[in-house]
Symmetry: C2
Subunit: 214 residues, 2 copies
Amino acid sequence: MAKPKARNPEEVKRNILEIASEEFAENGFAGARVNVIAERTETSKRMIYYYFDDKLGLYREVLVLAYRQMREQEAAYNDAPKSATEALCNFVRQTFMDRIRHEGFMRLVAIENIHRAENLDALGARFSDVNKSAVETIAKLYREGVASGEFRAGCDATELHWFISALATFNVTNRHTFSAAFGSAVYSEKGQENLCQMAVDAVLHLARTGRDHQ
Amino acid sequence: MAKPKARNPEEVKRNILEIASEEFAENGFAGARVNVIAERTETSKRMIYYYFDDKLGLYREVLVLAYRQMREQEAAYNDAPKSATEALCNFVRQTFMDRIRHEGFMRLVAIENIHRAENLDALGARFSDVNKSAVETIAKLYREGVASGEFRAGCDATELHWFISALATFNVTNRHTFSAAFGSAVYSEKGQENLCQMAVDAVLHLARTGRDHQ
DNA sequence: GAATAACTTAACCATAAAGTTAAAAAATAC
DNA sequence: GTATTTTTTAACTTTATGGTTAAGTTATTC
């Protein structure tokens, strides 16, 4: 009577990781409960230990998957802009919106920073390889702008990436304390447009003036 | 033989809060252990419950104290700069360095954001009152620059504060994942100088161009 | 100087947490 | 059709956790 229920280990793992990702993002590593994760999956607690050994092993696989999904998604940008200026402008906007869309990922990153990234470090090359594309995108973009005369040389691509990332990330991860302290006007529709435009203006300015910080 | 050990409830409370602040900043709310906090204080676990009721009560008092100390310290800036430009430049640098110096506070803020600031919200006016000065400082500074013709009108002071805060905060709170992903060059002495200078340049640019984002 | 309130100590408790055991069943591979 | 891998179930163990009890001590108040 009960359906045969075909086996699918990959799907079981995927399902566990999906739920675990939500629970860790919501409650942090120490705050998350293995029992709760188990209850929410379509399988049992035993299977979590079967596939991931322990809570930490599960958490680390969640991190790997989250970063991989994020970078894959970022790599799918590539519009066909008319100029380097336009491309950079789009890139900043994209990043800003992207961070908003992936709040769960942002929370995992914030949590891992509280752990001083010791779990990402433990992953070694399995992690750092994934990120190479992120800086390369903006490096290429900036080079093209310098070549066309739109930007001035001297900026460091990683520093530009840092700058864009800082604004887009803070906007999501510090939203709650900022609102509690200073009101939520900056998180109104108009407020968010303003902040995004400020980010675009500032980044264009930095790219155009080049290395004024020698 | 044992010294009389004079009573000093305020000192006992202060001591508990100091240790608790370190433990919560290090491990988060769920990760922190009341037993560990108790062991590290000069008093006993019972006194924590005597003064703060429970773990959450202790955590909330830690937040109150941390924000108060931070704002008091910020309010003690007031140098005597020659121009509004110089004043804004100094303010950005100060903020940038300040966040670096108060890593523990930054960690508490990050942790409270993971909790969606529900504990700050629960404090109500006891919290929001403390922050009024922070935006007022930059608002005044910007007004003076507009009056002197150095800046153009139209910027929102809270948005400027958000902008400066974003860069200075991300630099500290996302240090570990950023380094793990993109290398630690931006956290070398030279790298940090560059980032700080980028922040100054960008903020000056925004203040000078005023409301290009209507 | 007795009463009272503030404070201290350490043993104790109930619960909840991560993780395990063990036995069996079902699907798949060979 | 035998061996292997995957999956299920549920009870169990160990340890650590937040929180409490209860008795005692010290300063302060009257």
